[in-house]
Symmetry: C2
Subunit: 315 residues, 2 copies
C-alpha cells in the first residue's frame, strides 16, 4: 500500500491528503436541511448530512489527489449512524480509487490492538468465515503504550500490505508537554527529546516492515507541519518512514515550512489539509463559490495547495 500511495503521489504530482473531517459547521445549510427533512434532527440525520457532504467533496477532488484522511471522531460522535457514515465514506473513496488513511489514533495492548488492527486494516474471523472490517488502507497509531500497541498493527500491515503512521510529534500547541521532554541518555549518548526517542523507535519498527520493493516502510510517522525544525531532524532520523504531515493551512503550517519533511527526491511526505479544503467556501478567498459551490471551492483550494507545495519543493 505504501508503494501504491507513492505511485499515486507521482501520478498526481500532489503529495496531499484531503482531511474528511466533516464538522457540522462546515456542512452547507441546504445539505443539512435535506438530511434533517428525511431523518429528523437526529444522529441519523447528522450522519446523512456528513455523508452527502463528503460525497460532494470526493466527487470534486478525487482526480487531483492520491489520498483522503477521514478523522473518525467526526463520525463516531454521532454514534452508530455516524460509524455507518464513516464506513460509507471509506467505501466510496475506494470506489474512486483513493487511498484511505483512517485517522483513528488507536493504540492499546496485545489482543486489544489486534482487534483494532483487524477491524480497521485487516480481517476478522467470524465462525468459519473471515470478514472485512472498516477497511482503511492506512491507520494512525498512538505509541504511548510501546511496542505492544504497535506490533499487532505491523503484523496486519505485513499480511495485508497495509500501512500505519505512528504519532511522533503532533501538530497541536501543547504537543511539547510530554513529547518535547528531554530524556536522559544512556551511557555515552546525548540527551534528546522524547519525540526523537519515539522517532528512533519508528525507524526500528519500520526496518522490520519493508515491502519487497521500494524505499519506504509500511511504518510511517505523523509529524506536524507546525514544527518544521523538528520535522527536519525526524526526516533524517527516519529515512525509510513516510511522514504524514497534518497542520497545513488552518493550523498555521505553510508550503515553505514543508520542505524539511521531504527527501531530496521530492518524496517521503504527504501533507494533510482538512478545513482548508473541505470548508474552503467559508474562507474569504473562496467565498464567491457560495454554499452550493462548496465542492468547487474545495477543488480550487486543492489546486492552490498543489501549487503552493510544488513551488516550495521546486525552490
Amino acid at each position: 500500500m505504501i508503494n501504491r500511495l507513492i505511485s499515486k503521489i507521482r501520478k498526481t504530482n500532489a503529495p496531499i491528503a484531503a482531511g474528511l473531517d466533516p464538522m457540522m459547521k462546515f456542512v452547507p445549510e441546504y445539505i443539512k436541511k435535506a438530511a434533517f427533512a428525511e431523518y429528523g434532527e437526529t444522529p441519523e440525520g447528522a450522519a446523512e448530512a456528513v455523508w452527502q457532504f463528503n460525497k460532494g467533496i470526493v466527487d470534486a477532488i478525487y482526480d487531483l489527489i492520491p489520498a483522503v484522511k477521514p478523522q473518525i471522531a467526526m463520525y463516531e460522535q454521532f454514534g452508530v449512524p455516524g460509524m455507518a457514515a464513516f464506513q460509507k465514506t471509506v467505501d466510496y473513496c475506494h470506489e474512486k480509487d483513493l487511498v484511505v488513511i483512517g485517522d483513528i489514533k488507536r493504540g492499546d495492548i496485545g489482543s486489544t490492538s489486534d482487534a483494532y488492527a483487524a477491524g480497521h486494516l485487516g480481517k476478522v474471523q467470524v465462525g468459519s468465515r473471515t470478514c472485512g472490517g472498516f477497511g482503511e488502507d492506512f491507520a494512525t497509531v498512538n505509541p504511548y503504550l510501546g511496542s505492544d500497541g504497535v506490533k499487532p498493527f505491523m503484523e496486519v500491515c505485513r499480511k495485508e500490505k497495509k500501512g500505519i503512521f505512528v504519532l511522533v510529534k503532533t501538530s497541536n500547541p501543547s504537543s511539547g508537554e510530554f513529547q518535547d521532554r528531554i530524556i536522559r541518555a544512556q551511557e555515552g549518548a546525548a540527551d534528546k527529546p522524547l519525540y526523537e526517542i519515539v522517532g528512533e523507535q519508528v525507524a526500528a519498527w519500520g526496518e522490520a516492515c519493508m515491502p519487497e520493493e521500494g524505499d519506504y516502510s509500511y511504518v510511517g510517522a505523523v509529524v506536524g507541519a507546525t514544527y518544521p525544525e523538528q520535522g527536519r531532524i525526524l526526516r533524517q532520523l527516519m529515512p525509510k518512514a513516510f511522514i504524514l504531515v497534518p497542520g497545513y493551512g488552518a493550523q498555521g503550517g505553510r508550503g515553505a515550512d514543508l520542505v524539511h519533511f521531504f527527501q531530496k527526491d521530492g518524496l517521503g511526505a504527504i501533507v494533510n489539509s482538512s478545513r482548508g479544503i473541505i470548508a474552503a467556501y467559508q474562507q474569504e478567498q473562496y467565498a464567491h463559490f457560495g454554499e452550493r459551490g462548496y465542492a468547487d471551492a474545495a477543488r480550487a483550494a486543492v489546486l492552490a495547495m498543489i501549487e503552493d507545495i510544488s513551488s516550495a519543493l521546486t525552490r
Copy 2:
C-alpha cells in the same frame, strides 16, 4: 459520577470493574451457533453473539459490583454492527444501574477531542436538538498529545458530571519503553520517569476538575496492577485521582499487589478484571460450570475476586 462510583463501591464493598471484552474465543459455542443461525457468519452474527454473551454476564453479576469496563476495540472490530452491540451493552448496563467505564483510550487535538468527548460522555448538537452519544459514564484517555487532548474531556466532565481515567502507567510488558524513560529535570528538581511527569499533570488537571463535594476528582488515572511499585509512587503523587487498575488476574496482578493503589481509607482505586471474570468457565478452577454455566462461573469468579481484594486490603 465519581461520587456515584464511590458510593456504589461502598455499597457493594467491591472496588471492582468487570471488563466486558468479549473476544469471540470466550463466547460459548451454543451462543455463537444461535447467533450465526439467525444472522449468518457475518459481523452482524458476531455482534449478536457478543451482545447475548454480555447480557448473560451482566445478569449474573450486576448486583455484586459497581461498574463494568467494556473495551470498545472488541466491538469496533466488527464494524458498524459491532458498534451497535457496544451501544446496546452500555444501555443495558445502565438499565442494571452499573457505572460504565468506556475503555476507548481516545486522545486527539482540539476540535477532534471535543468530538470524542461529546460522542462518548456528552451530547452532540444536531440542528436545533442535542442528542446523546454512546453515553458512557467514564472514558479512558491517552495523554500523548498533552493538554489539548485532555481538556475537551475535562470540559464535558464538568458539564455532564462524567469522568475520565488518563493513561499514566499501563499494565503491558512494553509500557516502560517510553513511559519509564527518565526525564531530565528542570533546575533544582530531581530527574524522574515520564509516568511521574504524566502523573503530576494528571494531579494538576484533577485539581481543576473537582466535584462540589467529595475527595476525588473527575480526572482519574490508569496504572497497571502489574507495576505495584510504580502504583505506590503514583498513589502519593495524585492524592485526588481515583486509579483504574487493569492487569489483575490474567495479566499477572494479584490482590496483594493492589494495596499500594488504595488510600488508607480503602478507597481510591478500582480494579478491573476481564477474562478472569467473563471467561472464568474456561479456567480449570471453574470448568465444572461448563459452557452453559459461563455466567454462573463469572459470578463465582467475581465473588472470589472480592474476597481476594478484601482480604488484601484488610491485612
